[in-house]
Symmetry: C2
Subunit: 428 residues, 2 copies
């Protein structure tokens, strides 16, 4: 038998997927027990040079015609975007009884539960391994390999752009703007980088991981999200001095109040498994019982990593192994109860630019004391009377809403020159 | 529907598996879409206190009766050992049309291909994720998640005992014997540690990984195997000085001559992903196209990690997702063509104890020169005329058989006091 594919979207990932299917057809056939063939393709511009001949496939100008075509068993959606063409294609394909493979994290984070329900009602597979850390079979690990575990926490480095930027800043001492420009030139960051550097991309992926880990529907809106835009070379320097690496970390964990999800630049102790992940590499750290910790590391984005995940999903479907998108019956997915990050307890890094005058430190210390926050370390280098100098404090465990009050009160002091910087310190 | 299990072998792993199935029954039912229940158990000694009540299950004194029981859908073999009871149980269960889940690496490395053929002929699943690095779903990643890739190389830290020993030696400067004794006291090493410290356990696991990665039958006999028994604190010290960590590494790779498999204590550059794996942790590094590198890290042994893998296999079977043990049809598994390690090219670390006399270095250098081996670095600390002192050399890339000749010739020198130490240097 032959599994017949239709591919919509022929950018870098689409081209790599087609190329790999061709080059590895024997491996893929052995592993899936079926021939896998691309029959139809669709993209915005037929004439664009993609390095291969689209004439070999049936071209569809209208992606919906492909998604519902009689010639196709599996639709591969590589258009991207939360709504629009991607969502129309996904719905049409599933409703027409086609399996759907997608790399679209934005769509899955927002509409995944609904799409999974349609897939289930039509008895077809919705597969999206490529949506999260493509080069790492993390969703499969959570849904299947570690299926016997009660997962307590999933965390990770989920955005290669951010990790490249903070790694490069740390290794070279250069400024954020400087490294961002370089990342854009190298193709690691988009012309409009907001989606990556403000943590949105990582939050979408985290919400998908959390849904699978905790048996719920993705709840992207409840991810407390910030990015790396305000990471300065000064904080990178202090991080080193304190034994930390700054990393954009996403964490989803069970708490007594519900599932808590957050994405932020964190001070990460050098011995922490995620502190050692450098450059564009992604990592997913799964913590559960009885397994303990399992860490998966690999390329997160780019043609090769994404094509690898798309092909893994296709082989699963061809093998008759197509699993449920979120690992459970769509009907059994609960709306996860949400714990706000404000109830979280942890330690923090705070940097304040203060006018170096007598009594300033006492003023700041009083604010900490008044709020019941205990300071773990205090750093100030040199003195420059009447100028703004950086003062860094780290705290013992305290509450997030308390520390936000402290920071607000520090910022209101006449001697504090800029908005203070607050970062979570990840515990080991 | 209910999936009915029979468990043979109720040691640490068996007990943890039973306990986890009980504690996580709701998670497991949601993920597998079925109730999973233990119906029958068997072990050598019924009366032994295992911390739970075996009376809840039907006890079988004869494991073969369990393996062929009408009440059972899945047999879980946790006895261990290459042959004997484990193999009898495996064959009987598969031939009786039961799915078989096993943690038995020795049996799979030796008899896996034959068992897979029986399973296939009976249309049941043979599953052994727990046989290799239990806490890491590495076999699943190779067979399924990365199924679209052509795998070029699989390597890893596959034995926690060895890794604990070399990590501890490196961190404390203590001797091998000393650390081994401690490992035995902590339960990380067996009373007879040969199986672990001579690399046999790692070689069994490597041969299973290689079979899956390259679509062949496991060929344990062709793994060039040595262990950590001859790692000295002196070599650990030199390793540090040269920027290496000593790690017991297993490597299986495609070469133009066939598949090459080796397990040995290696000098591993500090920036190498496997150099950072400490203590009893295991790691599997998968290199393929188009994915690049994917690294999986986690606990390799112990009740929790092994039970996690066993349960993952059970959920797969209960979900109707039971895959083929080696990822391909048993009939399509080839006997892999074997490349002997003697044809390998790489760089090496050599330590020689030489009597410190004039002309000794020239004699040694001449041997390297005559064999066409170029020295990359040379270390000798201090001088002790007429006493044996350590001299360390690292080489540029050379051939394995050549360097073995060099070492033999060095050892034959009158001024060389002990058999020289030879270790592979892993390249980044």
């Amino acid at each position: 038998m032959t599994i017949r594919l239709g591919v919509i979207g022929l950018g870098v990932v689409g081209a790599e997927t087609l190329q790999t299917l061709k080059n590895h057809s024997n491996v893929i056939e052995e592993r899936s027990g079926q021939k896998v063939e691309i029959i139809e393709v669709s993209a915005r511009d037929k004439s664009r040079d993609r390095g291969f001949d689209v004439q070999k496939y049936l071209w569809r100008d209208d992606p919906i015609e492909l998604a519902t075509s009689q010639n196709i068993d599996v639709v591969v959606e590589l258009v991207g975007g939360e709504d629009g063409v991607a969502l129309e294609v996904a719905e049409a394909a599933l409703k027409a009884g086609k399996h759907l493979v997608t790399a679209n994290k934005a769509m899955i984070a927002r509409h995944g539960a609904r799409l999974a329900a349609i897939a289930e009602s039509m008895n077809v597979t919705l597969a999206f391994e490529a949506a999260v850390a493509g080069g790492i079979p993390a969703l499969k690990a959570l849904k299947e390999g570690l299926a016997g575990n009660r997962i307590n926490r999933v965390s990770g480095i989920l955005n290669g752009t951010c990790n490249y930027i903070v790694t490069e800043m740390s290794e070279t001492g250069r400024s954020f703007d400087d490294v961002l420009k370089e990342a854009q030139a190298k193709g690691y960051a988009e012309a409009d980088p907001a989606f990556d550097i403000d943590g949105v991309d990582a939050a979408q992926k985290l919400s998908i991981l959390a849904a699978i880990a905790f048996g719920g529907t993705p709840n992207f809106d409840s991810v407390d999200t910030s990015g790396v835009r305000y990471v300065t070379d000064l904080d990178i320097k202090f991080a080193k001095e304190l034994g930390y690496q700054i990393r954009l970390i996403g964490v989803a964990e069970r708490t007594k109040d519900g599932v808590m999800q957050r994405v932020s630049a964190c001070m990460t102790p050098k011995a922490h498994p995620l502190a050692r992940i450098d450059g564009v590499t992604n990592a997913v750290l799964i913590e559960g019982s009885p397994v303990g910790q399992s860490l998966l590391v690999g390329p997160g984005a780019g043609g090769g990593a994404t094509a690898s995940a798309v092909l893994g999903d296709i082989v699963d479907i061809a093998s008759g192994r197509g699993a449920r998108g979120f690992g459970e019956a769509a009907s059994s997915l609960k709306e996860l109860s949400v714990a706000p990050v404000s109830v979280r307890t942890g330690s923090f890094y705070i940097r304040v630019m203060v006018i170096d005058r007598p009594g300033v430190i006492a003023e700041m210390a009083a604010i900490f004391g008044k709020n019941g926050v205990s300071i773990e370390s205090f750093l100030q280098h040199g003195r420059q009377p009447d100028e703004a100098v950086p003062v860094v404090m780290t705290t013992h465990d305290t509450n997030e809403s308390t520390i936000r009050n402290v920071v607000e009160q520090l910022g209101a002091l006449a001697t504090v020159a800029e908005t203070p910087i607050l970062m979570r310190i990840e515990s080991l």
